[in-house]
Symmetry: C2
Subunit: 429 residues, 2 copies
């Protein structure tokens, strides 16, 4: 029915002269109508209904207008799916007829319960989490889990094994020293964390309560492609999956505990997800803070105290989005395509760009690279930022560049980066 | 310049036929123009610019439209200021020219640093926090602080004193038993927590490292109006202020540590604020998890690991709003007025409504009350909800009703509740 302006000479061009959006309630909007073929604008007032029944205060203009989104390559907090952000924005003030924001909801009320239950159900569907695993929505980041894991899984004299393939694994190992006898059975530190050991060569402690790995090292860009099996038949594999959580399918049954900060692939910072085999719950050390006791949180469905409600809601929107994309098999395909594009650009640059990580364990999520002419790195980062590609600086402990290309980084972002890299090389080779 | 429709017979009435809002980028909007004096609508298409350069997906409609906000009397998470929510909504997708949401920002980038620094500066201004106090933005709620306080302030054989005026103080006391020798020097439990002891009658331990109080008991509605002084000249007063934080001026210098979950008066859940005298930092027990060590967080300006960025941003918006209201002196006046209105309605009901709390220590924040005819309580709550006043049910451990009237509860909300109470009484007396 609607005819476009270009096809209808008699139609009018409308331009919103106010930068303010029409919020919630009927409110007059000032509109300028310009008749085509006339240079004289006609101002009229129009409103959503004949009269504005309620006088409400000036509403802030939406920042969405006339502003471009950048491609954000930050390692976390990181870019989120655009449609998720827009959904969240649309219902921030009032959530689905509840009369309030999600941020204002009682965590024990039916609305929030529906949110957290759906988030858990969707996560269970995404990762095909078996029934005998509990899902906990906690706070405090992976750093809290560095203590919670040994506090819950062993007593002070127990031995546990750590394979350290980067800075995060190293932090986990050090924190565990307060609560048990962790053994460093392999470390990539002397080689600057660029590889992962062959599992058959690992000398595991026969009585280790668990074997700990970090499946993706955010800073060093090293990612496990498969997983070691604990030598102790009563031991379990524990994984910090913070930076590749939900980036690909994972066989949860191979793990005793999986934990992850949300702020890479699945939500904002402030939410930590723990997936734990239920029989491992309930043996926390006496000194365990109540907030670190998995039993307390499992028994209370993550509602022992007030959880980070809004963050959990955001994670729920992301889980929904990942399911709509076709689940983690599809998500992995996209991630592989993006990573391949970027690693190929590096490898085909004849040494202009270099990635130090051993090819077989390169991360699909975090791609560190350096310039042969390291004096150009600052220029690279500066020019990229001008082109609206930001947060490409490598971690201070590593230097160079790092492109984090989590689930929510669109292929277009990687394509733009690769195109920029080729152009930069052509200008500086 | 703008003429209204009613004054300009030749003008056109516009009605947006789509419930979708115009988001970010130029996008054609379907509009129905109805010429006044004509019954025949003319459909045309108008767009913000001549052509929509970028094809973008369908944007979700804003939930703000045609939905009423309720008055939310929940004890926390709780109602937030409307203007703060609207501001947050306006810039959720893109924050002030940054090209990204606050939820996507690196916590070490300049944009987020500006947010957290302003939040701290505004909080310091609000509470007039002296220079020799650190302000920490943490995670894990007051429940985490129940462990962190003894872990940081004393060794395992040290004595500390607890005055318990409600459930939260009791939880704090019990958690401390894991880390030191807490002494329960007063408890209101046998009287069902309706009062606060006279300070001169308290038998404090002469060597107590600290004296712990909960300044406002959310469940029982008991609030300290002034504060006891530790007997030990080297001891300090520690206060859980979760549910009356920033509701009135406080002389911070009287305290060694103040801590508060944000989700009552200053933000969403997931942020915990700790204000601590700097000389008390740095003596944590060896078993302290790194995430509970005040020294780590103070040295790293709350950025040791990824903080709950979006929650901190929301707190910052609330702090700004409280300053704009004239600071905590003005806020306290409003809170007193609201509480007085509600307590008067209860006291003047000739026993129809009853508040069990001793008058001198009644909370300005949480007002518990019962009905003489307790069989009417379910009906009261149901009818109130129909009138868009929700979350009035008392805590399961206390029963009856509870109206939480934090900073962000408008006077109109309390007026409406009081009017409803009188009406309900008239119908059921």
């Amino acid at each position: 029915m609607a005819a476009t302006a270009s096809k209808t000479p008699s139609s009018l061009m409308l331009r919103n002269t106010s930068r303010k959006q029409s919020f919630l309630k009927p409110e007059p909007i000032s509109v300028t109508l310009t008749a085509i073929r006339s240079t004289k604008p006609i101002s009229i007032s129009c409103s959503a209904t004949a009269a504005s029944a309620t006088q409400i205060q000036d509403r802030p203009p939406f920042q969405n207008e006339q502003q471009d989104r950048v491609f954000n390559f930050a390692p976390g907090p990181a870019t989120l799916p655009e449609n998720v952000l827009l959904n969240a924005q649309s219902e921030l003030y009032i959530w689905r007829g509840s009369g309030m924001s999600v941020m204002e909801m009682s965590h024990r009320g039916k609305d929030f319960l529906s949110i957290i239950r759906k988030a858990e159900a969707d996560l269970r569907a995404l990762l095909k989490i078996p029934e005998n695993y509990a899902v906990l929505f906690l706070q405090g980041g992976a750093t809290s889990q560095f203590a919670a894991v040994p506090l819950n899984l062993c007593q002070v004299d127990d031995t546990v094994d750590y394979v350290v393939t980067g800075s995060w694994g190293d932090k986990a190992f050090k924190e565990a020293q307060k609560y048990c006898k962790p053994k460093l059975i392999w470390s990539g530190k002397s080689e600057k964390y660029v590889n992962i050991p062959a599992f058959e060569g690992l000398v595991q402690s026969p009585d280790a309560k668990y074997l700990h790995i970090c499946t993706n090292e955010t800073i060093h860009g090293v990612e496990f492609k498969n997983y070691p099996v604990p030598k102790n038949p009563n031991g379990v594999l524990v994984a910090d999956m913070s930076s590749n959580f939900c980036s690909k399918p994972v066989d949860v049954s191979k793990f005793g505990v999986i934990y992850a900060g949300a702020q890479k692939n699945v939500g904002p910072s402030g939410v930590t997800i723990v997936i734990i085999r239920k029989d491992l719950i309930g043996n926390a050390q006496d000194i365990t803070p109540v907030m670190f006791d998995y039993k307390i949180h499992a028994e209370n469905n993550s509602l022992y105290n007030t959880p980070p409600c809004y963050g959990i809601y955001m994670c729920g929107l992301v889980f929904e989005d990942l399911l709509e994309q076709g689940g983690l098999e599809e998500v992995e395909k996209k991630n592989k395509k993006k990573a391949e594009l970027l690693y190929n650009a590096i490898d085909e640059s004849k040494g202009f760009y270099r990635c130090p990580v051993e090819k077989s364990v390169r991360s699909l999520m975090n791609v560190p690279f350096t310039l042969e002419k390291s004096e150009l790195e600052a220029e690279f980062i500066k020019e990229a930022a001008k082109e609206k590609m930001v947060q490409l600086k490598g971690h201070r402990s590593v230097g160079g560049m790092r492109a984090s290309i989590y689930n929510a980084m669109p292929l277009a972002g990687v394509e733009k980066l690769v195109s920029f890299m080729k152009d930069f090389q052509a200008r500086h080779a």
